[in-house]
């Protein structure tokens, strides 16, 4: 039997870059996405900063210094909803089928998604940081610690991103992905992001103190609050760092294989 053409696969790096570029362009050329998200984010930030700060006093530090790390860290989680929806849309609209029918490594599609979404999330986190500084947020630790905190936010964002990509793949359509994305609300609000968990009813504290977002927020907070941190948070930076990273690794260990398996099976 005669066969035609030697099988040749396009390289992983080059195909990943090509698909990443597309995801980035989609975001950059839809300015309303960026503008809307920024306006909404700033609005909420200002509401918390100026309306609630009077009510949330007993901290010993300005509320804005407590709030900013929580707001920036939950921000990367909220932007994950967009990633889930984008993944589901690609699946629903046949874009994933097209890519899978091309002679490219299949892993390039998911890695491109994760890279593009993480890059976008880094930009939006940087924007949030800028707004935070503009309304009075200050670093109490060193600049290096501040940079480390920002780096950690991106790392957590990357891990959460995979979780949302998996959700998008499981949901299969944009509406369902949007619905699944609502799961971020209890995680964002029943955490230490906006208020100390000690103010919550004790049964809620059980969840609030042990869920991943609280650890992630508190390590960022510990790095930006400097000397005030341990007294306010009750633990050392390492305590939160180790737990937050373990959660991030755990999330990746579960969601990456799940995403890959689901992607293969579709």
């Amino acid at each position: 039997m005669t066969t035609i053409a030697a099988p040749r696969t396009t390289g992983l790096v080059s195909s990943t870059l090509t698909i990443t570029r597309r995801a980035a362009l989609r975001y950059l050329r839809t300015p309303q996405l960026i503008v809307m998200a920024t306006v909404q984010m700033s609005l909420f930030f200002l509401i918390y900063r100026y309306l609630f700060s009077g009510a949330i006093r007993p901290l010993g530090i300005p509320y804005v210094d407590y709030l900013a790390p929580g707001f920036i860290t939950t921000g990367v989680m909220f932007s994950g909803i967009g990633a889930a929806v984008a993944m589901a849309e690609d699946l629903q609209q046949g874009f994933v089928d097209r890519l899978r029918s091309l002679p490219i490594p299949r892993s390039s599609v998911l890695s491109a998604r994760a890279i593009a979404d993480t890059a976008i999330l880094a930009v939006s986190a940087a924007l949030t940081v800028a707004i935070a500084f503009a309304v009075g947020f200050r670093l109490h630790g060193s600049a290096l610690q501040g940079l480390a905190a920002f780096g950690l936010v991106i790392v957590f964002g990357f891990a959460l991103e995979w979780l949302f990509v998996t959700m998008g793949l499981l949901a299969g359509n944009a509406q369902a992905a949007q619905g699944l994305g609502m799961i971020v609300f209890p995680f964002a609000f029943i955490s230490s992001a906006y208020i100390p968990t000690s103010t919550m009813p004790s049964w809620l504290q059980v969840f609030a103190n042990h869920q991943p977002l609280t650890y992630m927020v508190d390590v960022v907070r510990a790095l930006t609050l400097g000397p005030h941190a341990q007294q306010l948070l009750g633990h050392t930076t390492d305590y939160f760092l180790i737990r937050a990273l373990l959660w991030a690794i755990g999330i990746l260990l579960i969601s990456v294989p799940l995403a890959v398996a689901r992607y293969r099976r579709t």
Binding site: A5, R22, R100, S101, P103
Partner: protein
């Protein structure tokens, strides 16, 4: 000569549903094969199988001699896929979309630019190449999607319901684009629910239902097997339906279908004199009519005729 597609006993199950249940299909080089069948008959599943997008539960499937299961990469080098949705990026221009797919086929930047340009000419989108796709009409997006499946210079083009949801004008424009490709020597497997589409484009039609092949042939062969046209009679009074049906059945064209809600009698008629004889028979009943019409058999009627004759 190696067949373009060789499918034997193809099976695919989703839970208890048998999406493909022993499907047989052979496509030879130079052929345009239309896969015709109702919704849920397994058309899309089969196209996805040929495109290496799903794992089969049974049977053998070869594209240009390459086994789809054992050597999917070789198959992906040879095919171009355009699905039911226009899988193009709205936030990129037409040219950028094509260049992206060309790059993913492993072409270097310059080659990708050249193949994008030549495809834009073939699908008639040169003037709109620099516009973002989000400003394109539905028909233009479908044409671009077709173009995206062409930049890799595929030997076999897979088109899954390429014109579903398009207005008649865009449909014809897309047909023209596909016909032009066929002239250039691309083999095509397309799925459709429309007989006229298969008739227009295909040299070979494979009719499937419930994941099984129920008929194969050229459009002319299949039409001969399904008989001629269908006459529809709408009497004014519901009570007259039976009388009209009896009169028409006496012509021996076939069994009359009575639809009480639509107040309609439908019956296949023989080619040639059939129409005149039917009109005369209806007139002789003396029944008062609202309407009487002659039309092509629908896909349902073709199925009825084909499955009934087996």
């Amino acid at each position: 000569m190696t067949s373009t597609i060789e499918a034997h006993g193809i099976e695919k199950r989703y839970g208890k549903t048998r999406a493909l249940d022993g499907l047989e299909l052979t496509a030879e080089p130079g052929q345009v094969v239309a896969l015709l069948g109702p919704n849920g008959s397994g058309k899309t599943t089969f196209v996805r199988a040929v495109a290496t997008l799903l794992r089969l539960d049974g049977g053998t499937l070869r594209v240009a001699g390459h086994d789809v299961r054992r050597d999917p990469t070789a198959v992906r080098q040879l095919i171009g896929l355009a699905g039911q949705f226009a899988a193009v990026e709205p936030a990129m221009t037409g040219r950028e979309n094509l260049e992206m797919v060309a790059r993913l086929f492993g072409q270097d930047r310059r080659t990708a630019r050249a193949s994008a340009r030549s495809v834009l000419e073939r699908i008639g989108l040169v003037d709109d190449a620099e516009r973002l796709v989000r400003s394109y009409s539905g028909g233009m997006r479908r044409r671009l999607d077709l173009g995206a499946s062409l930049v890799g210079a595929p030997r076999l083009l897979l088109l899954d319901e390429p014109t579903t949801g398009l207005d008649p004008g865009s449909r014809i424009a897309l047909w023209d684009a596909i016909s032009a490709l066929v002239k250039d020597g691309t083999d095509v497997l397309l799925t459709t629910q429309y007989l006229d589409e298969a008739d227009q484009l295909a040299s070979q039609i494979v009719i499937i239902d419930h994941g099984r092949t129920i008929a194969t042939g050229t459009p002319a062969e299949l039409k001969r097997r399904t008989g001629g046209n269908v006459i529809e009679v709408h009497p004014r009074q519901v009570d007259d339906l039976a009388a009209v049906a009896t009169a028409l059945e006496r012509l021996d064209g076939g069994e009359a279908q009575i639809d009480g809600d639509a107040r309609r009698v439908t019956v296949p008629i023989a080619p040639g004199e059939g129409m005149m004889r039917a009109l005369r028979a209806v007139q002789e009943t003396g029944v008062e009519l609202d309407d009487i019409a002659l039309r092509q058999p629908t896909l349902d009627e073709v199925f009825l005729a084909l499955t009934g004759s087996r």
